[in-house]
Symmetry: C2
Subunit: 327 residues, 2 copies
């Protein structure tokens, strides 16, 4: 839970003047999200979200993120929050001393207990996002792909990693070597298309109402990469049970629902085990880095990297895409 910056009544008065959103009647910090500060603003016209971008977000990336949300909303096939333009025509401005934006309020609740039905809904929504992204002109490199992993491995002390799990140091080095050798160059081709991926479609970023996906939020890791890599991230984030078991029924529902919107090519399917392994390494490394570097008194408790160590080991032993429920 995270609210790093305080918004004063004076800041709210300035905000009210800058936007045509009605009169602000309440503002509550939201105990969600890790990277940024979020506030729910109630106005005489209804609720809005105010996001203040904190130090882990590069302000130079904000036009890409906000532009993509706007593009996706315009495409109209999958709902997401839309940045509101102020009276000056700008969506991005300085609020309470930080870069900030007011975005529309997206209805929905993220699921705590994942069902196969949720996975099917997610699959279709992700495919719609990927299709809509193909007509978006902006690009942003994925700085948490192979070179990003290499940089993280270099920053994590092997002694500290070994204290968490003795296999970690060897595995980190070995996987980095294996995956960087096998990882394809990012070059879009009909059989392995690249485009804008969300790159962080965890359950808390996918909202549901009455069992249907009502929209996606939190586009602040979005970047240009293989579309199938986004699918692999979701295999990890949605298809493992709390006890660590992979649930191939959930994977099958997610993938087949994805394919009703955008069929995967044979090459994409064959790359899934590699991409799933890479995505597991990516989240293991970022969690490990946070685990080591988060001071004890921090607002946000770091997540256990061993969850992703376990997932990584699962994908390392996958022998055929049949194990993901694919034929």
């Amino acid at each position: 839970m995270a609210v790093y910056t305080e918004v004063s009544d004076d800041d709210l008065a300035a905000l009210e003047a800058a936007y045509d959103i009605g009169e602000i009647v309440a503002c509550k910090g939201i105990a969600e999200g890790v990277e940024n500060s979020n506030f729910l603003i109630e106005t005489t016209r209804g609720p809005y979200i105010l996001t203040l971008y904190e130090k882990r977000v590069d302000p130079a990336d904000l036009p890409f993120f906000l532009g993509f949300m706007e593009h996706l909303a315009k495409a109209g096939c999958v709902a997401c929050p839309v940045p509101i333009k102020g009276r000056d025509g700008q969506a991005l401005r300085t609020i309470a001393g930080r870069p900030g934006a007011v975005i529309t309020f997206l209805r929905g609740i993220w699921p705590r207990r994942i069902t196969a039905e949720h996975c099917a809904e997610l699959g279709a929504a992700m495919a719609k996002l990927h299709n809509a992204g193909l007509s978006f002109e902006g690009t942003r490199p994925n700085n948490l792909s192979v070179e990003g992993w290499r940089s993280l491995v270099g920053k994590i002390s092997e002694d500290t990693a070994a204290k968490l799990d003795p296999t970690l140091p060897g595995l980190m080095r070995g996987e980095l070597e294996t995956l960087s050798a096998a990882w394809p160059k990012l070059r879009s081709s009909p059989d392995r298309p690249s485009g804008v991926i969300h790159a962080d479609l965890f359950p808390d970023n996918v909202f549901f109402l009455d069992g249907k996906c009502s929209g996606l939020i939190d586009f602040y890791f979005a970047c240009t990469d293989f579309l199938a890599y986004d699918v692999a991230i979701c295999l990890n984030a949605w298809c493992f049970e709390p006890n660590g078991e992979f649930n191939s029924t959930k994977a099958k529902r997610m993938l087949s629902s994805y394919e009703t919107v955008r069929p995967l090519s044979e090459a994409e399917k064959q790359h899934l085990p590699l991409f799933a392994r890479g995505s597991a390494l990516r989240f293991m490394l970022t969690r490990l880095y946070d685990w080591v570097n988060t001071p004890p008194g921090a607002l946000v408790k770091p997540k256990d990297p061993r969850e992703y160590l376990h997932k990584l080991n699962f994908h390392r032993q996958v022998k055929s895409i049949g194990e993901y429920g694919l034929v």
Copy 2:
């Protein structure tokens, strides 16, 4: 900022069934409040607040708190959140494994930079609360009055207190002795009336819209005590500048505005320095206790007790009520 209990989508479905509040379309944990977990629930009928009572609140006290909010709202002279009764006629129920209640959403923003105008608005609102409380039948002892201070002093190590400020141990003991000898017995009389006091009317519990007080929140310290003691708490919470100086203009505005609704008797005025001193001791002691007992990784950062040490010392040297702007 505090959300101690997680509310799942299943909990929300149960909540929706229990109340006639429309369809729940969103639920966000609020990063405000210290004692309880609060959630902003958006329904098709508008926003509501869900409060889950955490371990520092005695469940036996909840009917008093909720009953007083209902009483105050019915009296209609000062706005506050109202507990919503479920389809079963009950306001209080178990939600996500804890005692919980859904209350109405109160519009307004609490002021970060206090002006004399805010103090005047607060004074009138507090007096209306006091008047309305006189017809409320419930009572609840103030467990943070003299006996509560004695218990706190007994629990705080003098060595730890001395590390924060070397004068603290002697002052704690001395003030406890002086104040408990001088403190009047709680017995309502026309010249020193007792009744329900809010007992925690800090700026974050007083909402404003367009410069006017729009209502009061957070009644979970409300209790039966001298009405003038509530006034003394507010002298401490609203009338000192961030640099520690007492602002007699603010005090004068607060008190004269209070008196337009409920005039203070001569006896009440004469007791204000004693009550202000006792209230400063009360907040100094609870802050000191939290300062010592809050683990480094806690969600809520403890407030500095020295702010109230300073206020206590101010009231100790007050020679006449003229210093509070009274004549």
